[in-house]
Amino acid sequence: MSGDDDLDALAGDYVLGLLAGEERDRFERRMSADPAVRAVVDAWQERLMPLAATAPPMPPSPGVWQRLEATLGSRGTPRQRTAKVRGRHGGWWDSLPLWRGWALAASLAAAALAGWIVARPEPAPGPRLLAVLTAASGEPTWMLTVPGSGGVLRTRSLVAVPDGPQVQELWLLPAGGGPVSLGLLAGGQTVGRELPADLAARLVPGVGLAVSLEPPGGAPGDRPTGPIVYTGRFIEDRS
């Protein structure tokens, strides 16, 4: 049926990351309003999921990386930054072993995302944000963007996300307060999710981010239970 074909093609474009700007925003609103549309998107996500295991390395553009280094450099290496955080958060970080090196064990998994776009009548204005998360080795692993018009967080993997039972969970590290989960990360295509207003308000330039390895389904509570493998901070994207 031609109508179904149009929706299938559009949803496929979305999952491939081919929709952009207003067209993408419009489609995301349709997804949030119509579970049938979301189901079509989910079907594409499943069909293309095997591609996530093969994502080739893709570093950010030199200009972006320079600005990120300028921000990260002033705060020391990722490991040093974590040491400062350890002091501020008391015993929380002490219970997590730090990852040593990029050689991940073969049994790591990419999991389905915890949630897609949810309905939101009026997007709140905010800064455009960008973050590149890095491993302890300095290798870039995830790119996060916040378009600024509403609390949408987009994630894109920069290296292959390994298979296995464990999943990667993203955490916001707001100043003064414990880590807040931003959901599970899936490899490959750019995926957007909309955050509740109070959480979206905490996405600000300079706020810390971390990725931990968790059992399938994510951390059982509201704290990371596995090792932190990647860290980063949001910067304001004025490009």
Partner: protein, 87 residues
């Protein structure tokens, strides 16, 4: 920059096949099988969009084709993938 992107249909003999890992699961094998049934240029469009975030416009430049042609390639390839993979 567009020249430096891999041509997914031409892998040097000594390089590991980027899609070898897909063959480890039934879903991956089905997707490889269905991707292999596409014409090379539409298949490359899908892989370049997915892995490298190319837009329709950038794909049109890379393949030196009109925007409409590339959009049509991707649309038909997606529908063929859907039908091939079933359900």
């Amino acid at each position: 920059m567009l020249d430096q992107l891999p041509d997914y249909d031409e892998t040097p003999d000594d390089a590991p096949d980027p899609h070898a890992r897909m063959l480890e699961s039934a879903e991956g094998r089905a997707l490889v099988d269905c991707l292999s049934q596409l014409d090379p240029e539409p298949r490359q469009c899908i892989l370049l969009a997915y892995h490298h975030g190319l837009t329709h416009q950038e794909l049109a430049r890379r393949f030196d084709r009109p925007l409409g042609t590339v959009k049509s390639w991707v649309r038909r390839a997606l529908l063929r993938l859907r039908d091939c993979l079933g359900a």
